[in-house]
Symmetry: C2
Subunit: 689 residues, 2 copies
Amino acid sequence: MTKRCEWMGVAAVIAMLGVWSGVLAGEPEGRIAALNAHPTPESLRTWHDLLAQETHVAGTAGDARTIERLAAAFGEMGLEVEVHEIWPLLCEPVSAALEIVAPERVVLEIAERVLPEDPATAESAGFGWNAYGGSGDVTGRVVYANQGTKGDFEKLAGMGVDVRGAIVFARYGGNYRGYKAKYAEEAGAAGLVIYTDPGDSGYAKGLAYPEGGYASDCCVQRGSVLTMAYQGDPLTPGAEATLEAERIGVERAGLPRIPVQPIGYGAAREVLGRMTGAAVPEGWQGGLPFTYRVEGGEALRVRLMVEQVRRVRRTANVVATLRGAIFPDEMVIVGCHHDAWNHGAADPLCGTIALMESARAFAAEARAGRPPARTVVFAAWGAEEFGIIGSSEWVEANRERLRRHAVAYINLDMAAMGTNFGASASPSLRGVIEAAAGDVPQPGDAEGRTVAAVWPGTFGDLGGGSDHVGFLCHAGVPSCALGGSGGRGWSYHSAYDTLAWYRKVVGPGYESALMVTRMTNAVASRLADSRIVPLEASAYSPDAVRVLKALTARGLEIGAFGKMDGGEGVAAAFAPIVGAAADAERRAAAAMERLAAAGSMDEGAAARANAAILGMERAWLDEAGLPGRRWFANLYAAPDETSGYAAWILPELARAVEMRDAGAIEAGVARCVAAFGRLGARADEVMAE
Amino acid sequence: MTKRCEWMGVAAVIAMLGVWSGVLAGEPEGRIAALNAHPTPESLRTWHDLLAQETHVAGTAGDARTIERLAAAFGEMGLEVEVHEIWPLLCEPVSAALEIVAPERVVLEIAERVLPEDPATAESAGFGWNAYGGSGDVTGRVVYANQGTKGDFEKLAGMGVDVRGAIVFARYGGNYRGYKAKYAEEAGAAGLVIYTDPGDSGYAKGLAYPEGGYASDCCVQRGSVLTMAYQGDPLTPGAEATLEAERIGVERAGLPRIPVQPIGYGAAREVLGRMTGAAVPEGWQGGLPFTYRVEGGEALRVRLMVEQVRRVRRTANVVATLRGAIFPDEMVIVGCHHDAWNHGAADPLCGTIALMESARAFAAEARAGRPPARTVVFAAWGAEEFGIIGSSEWVEANRERLRRHAVAYINLDMAAMGTNFGASASPSLRGVIEAAAGDVPQPGDAEGRTVAAVWPGTFGDLGGGSDHVGFLCHAGVPSCALGGSGGRGWSYHSAYDTLAWYRKVVGPGYESALMVTRMTNAVASRLADSRIVPLEASAYSPDAVRVLKALTARGLEIGAFGKMDGGEGVAAAFAPIVGAAADAERRAAAAMERLAAAGSMDEGAAARANAAILGMERAWLDEAGLPGRRWFANLYAAPDETSGYAAWILPELARAVEMRDAGAIEAGVARCVAAFGRLGARADEVMAE
């Protein structure tokens, strides 16, 4: 293969199509079709059998064996394999108990039942736990706090409900469970019980597993309750968690102090059904067969005991690299975590198997003499479930390289849950995904159409909650999450997230995982094989304007703007961003025109152009970080600070609105304007005279 | 009082305000303020004590005593009282039983519990029944049919569920219960059980009575299951049900043949919880604590036994008349039924007491020398609960007089359920109600504002389900229903609809009933005392255009238009109505301008103008009636034919759309065009040269 590859020639294609994004150089259809000839349902199923054969919580022996299996599998493909060891603070459950102690003693079941129909549950069924919750033995009155959101605790305060010393019961949903613990603790609760409501995930949605796929009365959602101003290992903020790394004291990590216990709705019913206080306000009622109440009354007393051990344990990311033939420094990263709360057939493995299958396709093509133009990294992350730890540590370890050379990150966490395609993505990546959707057949479509013909084409914003966070928010790498939904069931973080459950609910045919693998191949190939990186930095401008409109409406609704003169004052405050966005959009579009006009170019010129394009993405990085959380250095996108799952776009302004901190708007506007200015300046560097 | 009343002088006021509707002649505020000085909470409470002291199902001894009490009360006010006796086919429950017979025998409770906290329930609690259901003793498999709507039974057929011979369980809601019975019978069911779902009216909404106000597990909604192509007594279609009237054979009345039984959710849970078939489709799940299923399976067998006696019984309307001083022939009718399924404190009596209190105000003013200009009729209707019988019979008995002279009908069924004002109204009446809302204080408003300032000002369309139907749909009299909502509870048609329940849920202070009384006074006075009848016939035109748009959208959604060429073809088909509506609107507006320009006029001229205005309303009457139901002679509004509660506006076209009968559109359009033509022609008669 000559260095000047025959199938590169992006300028001609750009000129022909008149569009920038998603343009595969030369013979895009041939390249993607070749990649997509490799994945098969049988292979996906085999990966699934390999990785979901045992429970593998991060830091356990099952985790270590899973890491070995992944490394061996990537190695057999002929990829360069790095087992990236890390030593984060993890934790283990020791014991837990929940009981009603007055007016009568009732010991409540907090463990799942073993199902004879699903032998895997003999290993996974056990008492539920929330990692990083406090250890303790507390007894108190009961308060029901709905979903335990910031707003829910504000409403309780408004009703005059005294949460101090109480055992708070909150249902799952509405936020990341860590915020339930944070707000319960701030309100003075003695302990927190989080339960799965049958109205949200149980019988009201459908038949319970194993007859159907939904949560039964004993099904418990495990999960971390970590909330910090940074992501990754709690003890090594901003630095790689090597064995010998300097660590902060655990007391400085701000972990929850109160005990936190997850339970199923069978146990919750025993407590909630004995409450005697006033009926709940509108929207707080769940699916249990009685009217929910806010307070348990004086006679009802509940005891919660939780014992956990927190310690530094070994785990690892398994990172497989396929070196690019033309631009080996530039890299596209595809990732999904490998750790799970139990077997993890759905979370994360239905995405992990698509990762493996995509790697297998790229590796096979490379072995046949058709390597990608850029380096493609396939990464299986460790300890995601404890707090997005493995990927964050790898990003910290590789920060400068990523900031210089990373083209994009594609996340596949729990990606194959059905055949309804969906995506969340940075604005600059959306065109690539739209184009890729035209390359992949829609499973089960009688008319033989592509994903593009069936998918509505709308994108979500990327928030927190998975391994894209380090790439996007710490390293400024444009990111996306791809996936399919539609399976009818719910086993999230429970003992029932097994292969049998997955094959019953999502199906035994792996159509979803096949679609996701093919979408991954098509997106990754467009990013890795196009001579000019197909990122559309101009897309930030209209997206920012959309977000400013939404922030204005939200701020007016909640009275966030203080003395500002209604909508007009807010519009005036935001106007500099709108102007800067328009200017940046114009300059980015002009850069693309120069690129298209330049025609065929050599590698050196292309590399310089690509460096400028990546520089436009990094325009959003600001070393000062976001207010109060410096680790989050991307001024365009961050997880929100009040629920943990939602995205804050233009997060400094979103924070000012949500916190009703009108005084913070001016500084946020100035930094956004500066970012758009940097973006425009770097656009000017593209094919500069 | 001179015949040329000082406080008449509409033309000047019209000229001053520049509006047509809601103009009280001379001193509107003084007249309405005087009327509204009479009503008091104490008096409303006394009426309530009088009328809700015992159960009074139509045809029973309690009904007869209630009729005597009403007649005496009106008589004491000095009104002319007619006890309008009628002899309709009614029915009485004899016995009923519901039990699971296999795989185990479980006798189910179908009666409400007596509540020690509410002694009235000792009289009202008993087994529930659905009037006019068939008598029989049937045993069969179980099928759950959601709300038993036309669409629900179509969905069951689509799923291949065999309803023949089955006992169908359907939850209340979504339609009039008579249609549940009709569609169940048409699908071949052996029997029908209708239950109150806790997700709709029970614990999911709030605490049960007596702790709260919502339905407990044993609370049963009684009610008629009559569905006919006419309203009123089943045996005397279109004619007054006098003792000696000619009657059709009962077999020709099309009454349900299958037994129908209402139950509470405690009993329903026993059956639904034992079903074993497939899970229900989206939207069919209710609030019981398990996943609902469509079929009970072969092992589950349920027995339903219902015995009722149908017979012709005496009941009566109590009609009190206050003769008008200037235009005694012209009349405004205010009505509410008096019969109830039990005590009826809410349904209907909280509206009936507003009727009584409004009558008391008008009568007191008349006794003080200030009678209304037009005759005002206050009517307490009998046997509404069995099928809107009493009012329909009175309309049939007075049809020609009503068609000639009735200005409007105001319905108050169950009107005082809270202080959030609401109204449904014929288009021509909406302006009057809007103006009246400015006359009445909003209860509990800290700023002392009027109903108009708080009420959103949107109107519902009048459908079926209460005593306006005869006036509006048979006699062409513009009608409205006034009321207040907001009380948090549900005792509808149950043993718990008692004074204690009402005072707990709506409140002991009668603020709602006071507001409704005052709104009734203000609306009735504007209609009765304005020299020129303040009906805005021009309002039909924009309303018709709104409805045509909605029908077009609905028809396109359900594929109702057959071979018509999409939206354009439909628009072309409806275009003649739009043109006719615009022409009628122009002519009606011109008539109003002539009236305004005419200035002060004598009674003869005013009477002629008013006759023309009433004639514009009757433009909608067509003796041929609606397709398949001649009794419904109003081409503008009718109850729908598939659910019984909704309104069909332009019903002939609504029917064509709902029945996907594109061939019926042309004839419907022609009759609408003709009606608008008649309306325009009668407008031309107003103050014609």
